[in-house]
């Protein structure tokens, strides 16, 4: 398992990025954690529908997404808000989805990030098609897809990996192995020793990294992205990490896992080691961090307010998005709904 920055903040080998970039990565992780915690409390206040927290996985998401060019494709899941935000998905849209509004599914035109995948497994195939098509059209864009340890059990994972291998498609497969698929531990998800070694079955390189080490994740992701962009084909990265919180706000981990595990993983916190690393180099201060956090909270407050202020959907909202242009049957159904609503007021 590749590791560059130890939990205590020491270097094994060489830092893959300079100090400025390290600060940027750290700031992103601080932002991510603050966003995640704020979201949890917003959910408790009933301002968000169920929320899937990613605390503990900040390094995996930030380190991987930071390896992408601004216009590369990211195809990720319900738990990957940090990565999606890194790639340009606006906070207010992430929240819009979480408040139950489809507007959250439409990123700005220059942002090549797919709406978060709610089904497990299917979206990896989309990344293969996206990257392949970009190549066919002569663009140098690549696609990165993120998924969990549980997703590797779906047939679509297999078909996506196999297509990518056969056609040499430039896709970066990032598995955040956070130890659990809801209540199923990684050990019972698959009998392979690592998830990284599954790459062998598809003739592609696979690498397992300490997913809580932003240096290791970022280095592996950068290598994979370069390989993809230069026609070297796909790569599977297994980022070994841990989901510190529940699967979602509807889940109670107490039913299936030992609280001690979490304590264990707290000692391997992805942020703390970078904080130590930076402060040893006089690039960290409590004030600065508090500053970043409070700015995050303001950001989040602004974003959630914006999301909540979106107009609730009207008939055109649901009937207008089935096809580019409506059909007689849809028009008739829409009139039926509209007449119902009119009579209501």
């Amino acid at each position: 398992m590749r590791q560059i920055l130890t939990p205590s903040g020491g270097l094994v080998g060489e830092a893959p990025v300079d100090i400025e970039m390290t600060v940027r990565l750290y700031r992103a992780m601080v932002f991510a954690r603050a966003y995640d915690r704020k979201s949890m409390s917003l959910q408790r206040q009933g301002r968000l529908a169920t929320y899937a927290p990613f605390e503990g996985q900040e390094a995996a998401q930030v380190g991987a997404a930071a390896a992408l060019e601004p216009d590369d494709w990211l195809v990720a899941t319900y738990r990957d808000a940090a990565a999606m935000w890194m790639q340009g998905y606006p906070l207010e849209l992430l929240f819009a989805g979480r408040t139950g509004h489809e507007a959250g599914g439409r990123p700005p035109d220059h942002v090549n990030v797919m709406p978060p995948s709610i089904t497990v497994g299917g979206h990896m195939l989309h990344a293969v098609g996206l990257s392949w098509a970009e190549k066919l059209r002569g663009s140098s864009r690549i696609a990165m897809t993120m998924f969990g340890d549980g997703a590797t059990s779906e047939g679509d994972f297999h078909e996506a990996m196999n297509f990518a291998g056969v056609f040499g498609v430039g896709v970066v497969f990032v598995c955040q192995n956070n130890g659990w698929a809801i209540s199923l531990p990684r050990s019972q998800q698959t009998a392979s020793e690592t998830i990284a070694e599954k790459a062998i079955a598809y003739g592609m390189p696979g690498v397992q990294v300490d997913g809580n080490d932003v240096f290791a994740v970022h280095e592996a992701a950068t290598e994979a992205a370069d390989r993809a962009r230069s026609g070297g084909g796909p790569t599977l990265i297994e980022a070994v990490t841990y989901r510190m919180g529940p699967h979602t706000t509807a889940d109670d981990p107490g039913r299936y896992r030992d609280p001690e595990d979490a304590e264990d993983w707290e000692r391997r916190d992805p942020l703390e080691r970078v904080r130590v690393y930076l402060s040893e180099r006089d690039r960290w201060s409590a004030e600065w961090q508090a500053e970043v956090e409070s700015r995050t909270f303001d950001e989040v407050e602004r974003a959630i307010t914006l999301a909540e202020s979106l107009y609730d959907p009207d008939p055109s909202h649901i009937f207008g998005a089935v096809f580019e242009s409506s059909t007689p049957t849809l028009d008739a159904q829409r009139r039926e709904l509209e007449s119902l609503l009119e009579d209501d007021d």
Partner: protein, 325 residues
Amino acid sequence: MAELTIAQALNAGLALALEEWDEALVMGEDVGRTGGVFRITDGLQDRFGADRVIDTPVAESGIVGVGFGMAVVGMRPILEMQFMGFSYPAFDQVVNHVARIRHRSRHRFTAPLVIRIPYGGGIGAAEHHSESAEAIYAHTPGVKVVVPSRPHDAKGLLLAAVEDPDPVIFLEPIRLYRSVKEDVGEGPVRVAIGSAAVEQQGSDVTLISYGAMMRECREAASAMTAEGVSVELVDLRSLVPLDVETIVRSVEKTGRAVVVTESPRTGGFASEIVTVIQEQALYSLQAPIRRVTGWDTVFPLKRGESLYLPSTERVLRALRATLED
């Protein structure tokens, strides 16, 4: 007398099934340790062990395909799909194997399994969590399709499904899981698969539905009754086999019918019910049969849900319009 919710009745029914049949086992994602995302299998693994209440990897086709093999050997697998929107990866196994092995092997091999599928909207869930695709299963020869709307039937149909020698798609109305309690009877009661329930006798109009929409239909029926209209309320309970006789007899009596489902309209099961009525009771019809259904659109997220799901008000309007025709 045990007063239980649908969720509790299902849990009790599963426990009874695991007691009654050594061959019975429960298999699915998160059904063991954590008792399923809806806690329907709560406590069963502690009680019956990990050999009979099996947590699987995240692979729906695998769950159904492996369960199929187990059933062929004589087990009675009770398989859980976490939500209907996640049952599609297993669709090939259901259509091409589960539904056909009896025909393919001339009865030598059969698949007496149950696939439990929570379905329907109304809980403000994320995408794929509000599906009502019962029509695609009902259109698959070789599987039975049942859908309870109340605790008593939930338990009775579940036990009948486990006992059934053929595969049964068992649909569970998510938004009714914990809505009402009723006496579910002692021990392993059964509700016959293929029999509809006439919940309320009436002479002016027949109101037909099943599963989650029964709540709105009950509300509409009592509102109409209060207005002095005599509504006959039919809960199909079973889509395959369909209790055509009960449906037709009722419409021959009332001459009018409204069919309510929450699935998209085109090709929904409401169309089958309407068709059966017009084939067998056309000359009794005094007005067109009305469908109250979801729309031919994607099921909206929380903030648009109320635009999609048929409301009691919509059912009432359809009843009134039908009576005025």
